[in-house]
Structures are given as C-alpha cells and as structure tokens.
Subunit: 320 residues, 2 copies
C-alpha cells in the first residue's frame, strides 16, 4: 500500500493547470504499489495516473524512465504514455516531489496466473525488447550481479535469523554466479521487475506493462529469466513447465532467442532468483518499526533458486 | 488506508456478471477510508465504487445504509446511488464479504476548509435532513449519549496515559451531559460522521456526501453540532466563527432551525466533541500492534470540548 504524500487542493489545481486536461473531476489515492504515491486522476479530457516520486526513486533517473515509456509507446508497446505539460515538459513537481502524469491503462493484473497469461507476457516482453533497441538514454542495472555481494554483506550474517545456514549457501552460490555470469549476450533495455502486479489484462489479452522504475540496460535473456521466476512457479513453489513453455515460445516468435541465450537460461534464472532473494532478505532484516508495508518473504526465492540449481538442461524450461 | 480484502479475478468476474454494467475495464483499490475495502471500478457502462464490508460493519445494518442512500438519491440529495443487480438486489457478496456497487461521484474532499465549503455543507446537510424525513427504516444511534459512559469505562482509567487528569474531567462532563441532554428536538435520519473526507467538491460546489455508515435516527441539531466540530476549527484548534456562521445560515435557509435547537447547540456541540474524543481515546488505547491505520489524536477533541464549555450563548456560533 502506498500514497505517502498528501496533496493539497491548491497544489493539485496548480499542477493540473499546467496541462491541457481540463478540470479535475476526481483524484483518488491507489492502494497498490510500494515505491511511489499513485493517484487515479479523472479530468474532463480523460483518465490518468498521477505519480509522485518518493525518496526511493533517484530523480536523476526520471528522464530515463519517462523517456523510455514514451519511446516504447511510440513504437506500439502497451505501456503508459507520459502527458506533456503545456510547456512541453513531462516531468513536473507537486507537493515538493517530482511528479508526472501518464495515460490510464485499462485492465487488471492477474491474481492467479494461467498459461494464457504467460503466453501474452512472452510476446509483450519480446516486443518491448525490440522496441527499446534504439532508445538513446541508458541506465546501468544497479541490481545486477556485481551488486549482490554487497547486498549479502549488508545483511551481516543476519540471514540466519530467517534460515539457519542460508548465509553460507548464498555465499557459495554467489561465488559460482560471479565466476560464470555472461557478459556477451544480446542486450538492450529490460524491464527488470515484470511481476504480475505490473502487467494488466482484459480477459485473455494483455493490455499494459507498467512500473518501469527498475528498467535499465542489461542482457535481454536476464529479463526472460526474471519472468520465469515471477510467473512460472505455483503458490506451492513448484515449477510449471507449461507456463514457461508458452512464455518462451511466444517470446521467440517475436525476437530471435539464440541458442547461446537458451543455454545461459538456467544460470540467469539462478541469478534472477538470487537478486530477488537478496533484496527481500535485506528488506526483511531492515524493516522499520511500524512500517505500513509488509516485507515479502525472501524464502520464496530460495525455493526457486534450488529448482534452478537442479536444472540439468535448458530444455527443462520447455523450449527445445 | 484500507483495502483489506484481495479479490480474485474469478470472483470479481462472477460478481460483475450479476449486474448490467458490461465488462470490467479496471478495478483499483482506493487508499483512503479505514472501515471497509473500497475499489474504483470502471466498467463499459460507467464508473462505480465497489465496497466490501469488513468486520466493523454489522451486516444487519446494510439494508438501512443502502436503502437510505437510494431514498436520498431519489430525492435529489448528492450521494452515491446503489446499483441493483439483474435480480433486483443491491446487496451481494464478494470474496466472502457483503458487497455493494454504487455510482461514482466526481469531486474531491477539501484538504483545507474555506468558508465557501461550510456554506455548501450547511445547505447539503439540511437537504439531507429534509429528504430523509420519510425514510421508513430506522436505526438507533449506537454512539449517542447513553454509549459514552460505557466507552469511558472501557478505557479503564487509562486515559491518564494520554493526559494526566483527563478521566476526572471527562467524568464530570459526562455527568453534566447525561443530566441535560435533550430528547425532544426535531429528529430524523442524520449522517453522524460528516467530516471533510466524506464531502466532495468541484471548485466551490459540493458534489457529494459519502460514507453513510454511521447514519442513524437522532436529533437533527446534533448532526449540525458534529459539523461544527468537524469543519469550523482551524488546524491550530481555534474556532472560526465565519465558517460556522456560513454553515448555519445556509442550513437555516433550507430547514427551519428553531430557537430551541439553537439554544441547545452549545450543549450538543459539547456532546459531539465528547463522542469523537471518546471513540478516538478508545481506539488510541486499544490500537493493535503493527496496525496499518494510525489512530487519530483524541486530544484534538478535548480542545474543541473546552471551547464549547466556554460558550456563553449560542450566538457565539454565528447565528443570531
């Protein structure tokens, strides 16, 4: 649950007057989301999402994020499009925070994933990778392999509070990942956080990808590996090969998924599991007293990591 | 912040199919509100608010609440109107909770109250009192004078944790309120919780009254006294007679505000301050560990109570 910043009537009116959207008819805080304050804003000329960027977002990254979704929307990717103010700017400020207005997308995120969801996801992910190829701004992946050791160190051995023996297991895994991590796979802009709550559907059709605030430049197949972790495990943490197969097949129809990328998939999937395990572990150990947001369970990603460690060949993900 | 119940895709689709609203295009949890789970639902045929009633609402009261807003909407009061399902029922269930769909009202609640707000409020409050006169269901006010002593007793002298000496002060005030509380003023359906977040405006025009979940049968002037407490004090807790005057004058233009009611206003205002002070005090002393909702400060109403105790004549509220 979010909405951290309360916006005064006067501030909101002054903000809206900078845009050609007409009078504001309604502006309600959205309960979902944990990083920023989001509002569903209805104005005379349409419906929008108003986002106030809270302190976890680096303002220097905002031109990348807003430029990226505009670039993608221009190329037909189903994602929010920034609304430019009358002066041409897409980034403004509101109540002391950087703020932006983007188009409202219909659809809802799937609470229970079915294979048709992952098929659509695979297609949309590949379309995003292709469309982002010529985006001119770049942003380093701050949560890639080189960041994992410092993250684990920052947990200062306190991983044992979550599971006895986890620190040694993760250190051994990190040694292996660091030694084997590829650097020469096809790369470009990736979403890097395409979990269910960031993908909207109407019926069986994908209607939008949202929340590009982890997007960065990295190897495309790593984004695929993140989606394998995010979409292809059941609530009991068992792997669902049907969901993976449909996702990978649709992906490969849009963007050539090379043999080298496929071979790297088990390794990349281990890395993706490690990345979410470590950030969740860190957040779990450092949750503030009285926090409004309940941290997510890091051990869900330990189960995924163990599955990927047991994968003998990339065919086990469903793509031959 | 609310949204306590997560609704599955299948449950939501099955729920919507009971209504003539078309396909659901979007359904987002609303961050505001503390009692129930509220969603802004956009469907092909319009925008709606979907409410799931959580455990603090007694299901036996729902026919009163839903019947009331339909009755009021039929008579032109600006409030949500329940949407009837295809079988004629306005009360359904969703994800194991009683649930209802009502029309979406445009407008926003005022974060900073200005005199034009209280003028509009006075008019709308009186219109609601008049329109509710012939509503046939009744509901006792569970939070009127007879409930205050048990509420104070339930705090078991722990009021001292908030302010030393407060228990004795409140007991003396309660003695006086119980001895002097009127029972013969004009009565009917009152809202009983018309704070800012329950009143929407577009510019200087009131567009809606919402959240009738404390509505009940009681003396009209007590509702006016609640609004005096809710709308006519500044953030520094000083009384603003201009706001009160404009509210009372507009109220009296729509519904005759008798001399007897005016004479009772200081007493009723003390009672209204006591009512919110006590429920806030109780919630403050009984807040659960790790609660998502921060309890409101009870002492804000002790300041109001002291102001009303010092009122020498009802003219001090601005109406002669």
């Amino acid at each position: 649950m979010a909405v951290y910043t309360e916006v005064s009537d006067e501030d909101l009116s002054a903000f809206a007057a900078q845009y050609d959207i007409g009078e504001i008819l309604s502006c309600k805080g959205i309960a979902e989301g944990v990083e920023n304050s989001n509002f569903q804003l209805v104005a005379e000329k349409g419906s929008y999402i108003l986002t106030l960027y809270e302190k976890r977002v680096n303002p220097a990254d905002l031109p990348f994020f807003l430029g990226l979704i505009e670039h993608l929307a221009d190329r037909g990717v189903q994602c929010p499009r920034p609304i430019h103010a009358l002066d041409g700017e897409a980034l403004k400020s509101l109540s002391g925070r950087p703020a932006a207005l983007v188009t409202f997308l219909s659809g809802m995120w799937p609470k229970r994933v079915q294979p048709f969801h992952t098929a659509e996801l695979g297609r949309a992910l590949a379309e995003m990778h292709v469309a982002g190829a010529d985006f001119e701004i770049s942003r380093e992946n701050a949560l890639s392999v080189s960041s994992w050791r410092p993250l684990l160190d920052a947990c200062k051995g306190r991983g044992e509070e979550v599971l006895v023996g986890i620190t040694a297991q993760l250190e051994a895994e990190l040694d292996w990942l660091e030694a084997n991590w590829p650097t020469d796979l096809p790369a470009g802009v990736i979403h890097a956080d395409l979990f269910q709550d960031n993908v909207f559907f109407r019926g069986e059709n994908l209607t939008g990808l949202i929340d590009f605030y982890f997007a960065c430049n990295d190897q495309f197949a790593y984004d695929v590996a993140i989606c394998l972790n995010a979409w292809c495990f059941e609530p009991d943490l068992s792997f669902n090969i049907t969901k993976a197969r449909r996702m990978l097949k649709q992906y490969a129809k849009v963007r050539d998924f090379s043999a080298t990328e496929l071979d790297a998939l088990p390794l990349l999937a281990r890395g993706a599991a490690m990345r979410f395990l470590l950030t969740r572990l860190y957040d779990w150990l450092n949750r503030p007293e009285g926090a409004l947001v309940t941290p997510k369970d890091p051990l869900e990603f330990l189960a995924r990591l163990r599955f990927h460690q047991g994968v003998k060949s990339p065919g086990e993900y469903g793509l031959d």
